[in-house]
């Protein structure tokens, strides 16, 4: 497992195109690949897209997930069962099947979403969701959130179940409002779980390749090319292996920085307490 990673760094310092691969020449170029990549506006566009997409998806997933978990634990038996089954269905659906379904839901002529929006009075008849990068991202983001929420709901409702009800009851007697009780009692107790889940969401969403790629292959006009897609296209479609390796090293570095920021703030929060 470690070797490919080291190899990747080495590759990023070499000129590797199809020609070098076939002749098996090793041409060291130092940091040239990095210079090329970092000077390429398309690369920075992809960075910005990736970061925004990740932030939007992870934040939405967490907020919706936490709210639904709070709802789930309060439900009577029957609605609880129904909601759980629905969530498991969304969770179990293979990513690629889900991607085709979402394309069908958002189809231009016969998609349910267009029909529904037209019903509530929006002019969406014949609206094409995949003609601009932004709305393609919206559909991909909804897909990502739809599939990610179930895990968050189940994990957090499991964590909520460990919160002793006496604490809440005592607060009720003391006259605390619902939001006071959430922020001062429940939230601090489930925060570790929320932290871990948010951490995972950021990693997963940043690396989301299948959903975005299978939706429109990074199009239209490479306006949904995120970092993983850029690496794929640069390396395998254009055979610029050295450049792709450099881009992937930068991607992993960005991910590490994001995660380090998170870990640091988590440690700080721990110290404050």
């Amino acid at each position: 497992m470690g070797w490919p990673l080291v190899n990747n760094v080495l590759l990023s310092l070499r000129k590797v195109t199809l020609r070098e691969l076939i002749s098996r020449d090793v041409v060291w170029v130092g940091f040239d690949n990095y210079r090329t990549i970092l000077a390429d506006p398309a690369f920075w566009d992809a960075v910005v897209r990736s970061v925004l997409f990740t932030a939007a998806c992870a934040a939405t997933t967490m907020v919706v997930g936490v709210l639904m978990a709070l709802l789930l634990v309060r439900l009577p038996r029957f609605p609880k069962l129904v909601l759980s089954i629905s969530l498991v269905l969304a969770w179990a659906t293979p990513v690629l099947a889900a991607t085709t379904v979402f394309q069908w839901l958002f189809d231009t002529d016969f998609g349910v979403v267009n029909w529904l929006l037209a019903r509530v009075g929006l002019d969406t008849e014949g609206h094409s969701w995949f003609s601009t990068g932004r709305s393609t991202f919206l559909v991909a983001g909804l897909l990502v959130v739809w599939q990610a929420v179930p895990l968050v709901v189940f994990s957090i409702s499991a964590a909520l179940a460990t919160v002793p009800p006496e604490l809440d009851e005592a607060a009720v007697i003391d006259g605390a409002t619902a939001s006071q009780r959430w922020w001062t009692i429940t939230f601090p107790l489930v925060r570790p779980m929320i932290g871990v889940l948010a951490f995972l969401q950021v990693i997963w969403d940043f690396k989301a390749f299948t959903q975005v790629y299978a939706m429109r292959r990074g199009g239209p006009d490479s306006s949904t090319t995120t970092l993983p897609i850029l690496i794929y296209q640069e390396g395998l479609a254009r055979s610029q292996f050295g450049l792709a390796a450099a881009a992937s090293v930068v991607t992993v570095a960005i991910l590490l920085v994001l995660l380090a920021l998170y870990v640091r703030s988590a440690v700080r929060a721990e110290e404050v307490r």
């Binding site: 379904v101 839901l105 690496i231």
Partner: protein, 276 residues
Amino acid sequence: MRASRRARGIQSAIALVLAALWAFPVYWMAVTAIKPRSDVVSRTPVFIPHSPTLEHLRTAIEAPGFWHFARNSLVLTIGAVVIALLIALASAWASTRYFFKGRKAFLITIMAAQLAPWEAMLIPIFIVYRDTGGLDVLLALIPLYMVMVLPFTVWTMRGFIAAVPVELEEAALVDGCSRGQAFRRIVFPLLAPGVMATSLFGFITIWNEFVFVNALMQSEPNATLPLWISAFQTVFGTDWGATMAASSLFTLPVILLFAILQRRAVGGLAAGAVKG
């Protein structure tokens, strides 16, 4: 939590709406797959199929290569999961029951391997496959997939093995079992639910795998179902009925496995086997 009756009612109503929202895409996939063509391409969606048809399922199954791709997917998934399970069983067993030099290092490596980002592996792995002639060789994916699910498999398997009381095994040894017999007769039956739960995860991961098969298998005979479905527009054009039928067929095994294994995976088989 003692909410008033009315609050309860509102909560339940919201829950049902959310449930509908989450289940709808799956429902819509299944329903589109069995609707007659005229209902699929209608301006006003038909939510409940009046006259279900198997037409689209037939189109999907009879599409060129469907069975071939399904077989490829199954071979890869089962091959990789079974090998990963065998290796994981042995190494999880060794690392929970015996103390040896480098045990800690071993565990840390397993943890770290779970974090390895595929973006950084794609290019080097592609080049390894190229250099060894593994490109476009279907079975060459098995070792890769096996390695992919191995860390998680070892990790969860350790949890299940740790949950089997050592006393049971010791009792078996006292009664004259060999180490191997003790494992086969006593521990393994107790582990079976764990083995199933772990294999469920492996199965889903590989069944869904798209990134590497997309990069490493370039000719059509070596495609798997995910690749085939991702190219549905070239296969079916805008025939959404057939596309949804294909997606449903692809989803079905996963949901079935979930339904079957969910129940077995949960269950404290070993609970109460030892008197405290």
